[in-house]
Subunit: 139 residues, 4 copies
């Protein structure tokens, strides 16, 4: 699986001299968009299909402080998928030191433009198949 | 005219130990929304009327560093209004010291939901009147 | 226990037309600072004592979408405290509807300015006492 | 001169369905850091020299709305430099359409770690030379 790279910006730091913890939640989104793109289900495609995927839950464990001008590599894996909910795991590694700086996860459901919960098997069998497949393969 | 108060948040600081300059642009929006609310043209009203007011230009001069846990008082005044464009001035004052920390301005046009430029005199005479009035009165 | 109120800003929305989920993590910080202030351990005091309190872990469950111009009430409670780690729970309620919009928690350690882990009982018995007390009292 | 590319993130959008205007101010910083890096005066170097370069003024004219998933190309040029103040111009172009989406500028002074204003000719002749040179060459 491809690795997404985020270059740490100055405006992401706080007065502790490190990246503010809320930015990791945003980087998860960056990596997730990239990951789905690579799977062939990019944002444009999702939007054309009328599928929106809100965040139901996030969690993040901070392991190592991250500094400005660094680069963080993010690996995304599917942890679970049951047809209506997708749970992703994120491994964030500081590129230079190759140290784990955060381990995170996010859970998503799928809705249409009116906010109705979608079962992907019906609404988009192609995507459902791909997620199931990725679960079995372990990423 | 009422004064809007923004309490500085930790996540608004950067590694220089002060508020990151980009946040002042956001505070201008906070003060603008509050200012229009007080004039009787709150966001709900604008939305019900179908009027959107994009930012055409912003500028900000930074006079004094602002720190976490401080409070910034913001005064908004109409500088110019010509029926299609509204230019607002902002005075940002650090509450405790009463020092000017920034002087800023923003320019806005008015569009409908399809993106068409609106002349307020036609689209919303009530708002047009109020803006003209506030120009004359000097705030 | 006092309730912290956050007024939702326009710049906190995303193109789904709701508040972007990453902002809830920032609101937790706002409420936490307020909560510690009310306990008598404000940011100024912590800094004068040389105690920094990094975030070790966050999690947030999103229950209800939150919109611009709304107000979110946040209650903070101590879930656990063992002398080196403090775990806080957050209940976020949309003011008008009084619906729960998010349930969250954060875990913190305490370090000095050199990054050394502090045991609060030694480093700051006053704060240690207060946290233990608040645990027993259930808030 | 190299062109900096920023990939638009979902969390940068607002409920108008476009990038929130405050993010352009942050992209200017991204491009500025990149630009100084390419000139041989990267952040690490500046920090080792003890030179901090606060923002004194910013302005941005918004020409074209920018959407999620797009890419914005940013060119940075030195407009003026007088030994104590540096003024940069930014041209932001939406990559796919090659349309100008924003024209901006920022002004900076130079200070040491104690906040004292620096004259670069004395404090860092190397950097002073480079800025003067770039002014003459027109970028």
């Amino acid at each position: 699986m491809d690795i997404y790279e985020h270059f740490v910006q100055y405006y992401e730091t706080d007065q502790m001299g490190i990246v503010h913890h809320s930015n990791f939640i945003r980087w998860m989104e960056e990596a997730r968009v990239y990951f789905l793109d690579r799977m062939g289900f990019g944002y444009d495609w999702m939007e054309a299909e009328g599928i929106i995927s809100p965040v139901v839950e996030v969690s993040c464990q901070y392991k190592q402080m991250v500094h400005f001008h660094g680069c963080v590599q993010i690996k995304v894996k599917i942890r679970t998928y049951n047809g209506v909910r997708l749970c992703l795991d994120y491994e964030m590694i500081e590129k230079e030191s190759q140290k784990l700086c955060a381990a995170a996860s996010s859970t998503h459901c799928f809705i249409d433009k009116k906010g109705k919960i979608l079962m992907l098997q019906k609404a988009c069998p192609e995507l459902d198949e791909k997620f199931k497949d990725a679960c079995v393969r372990g990423s």
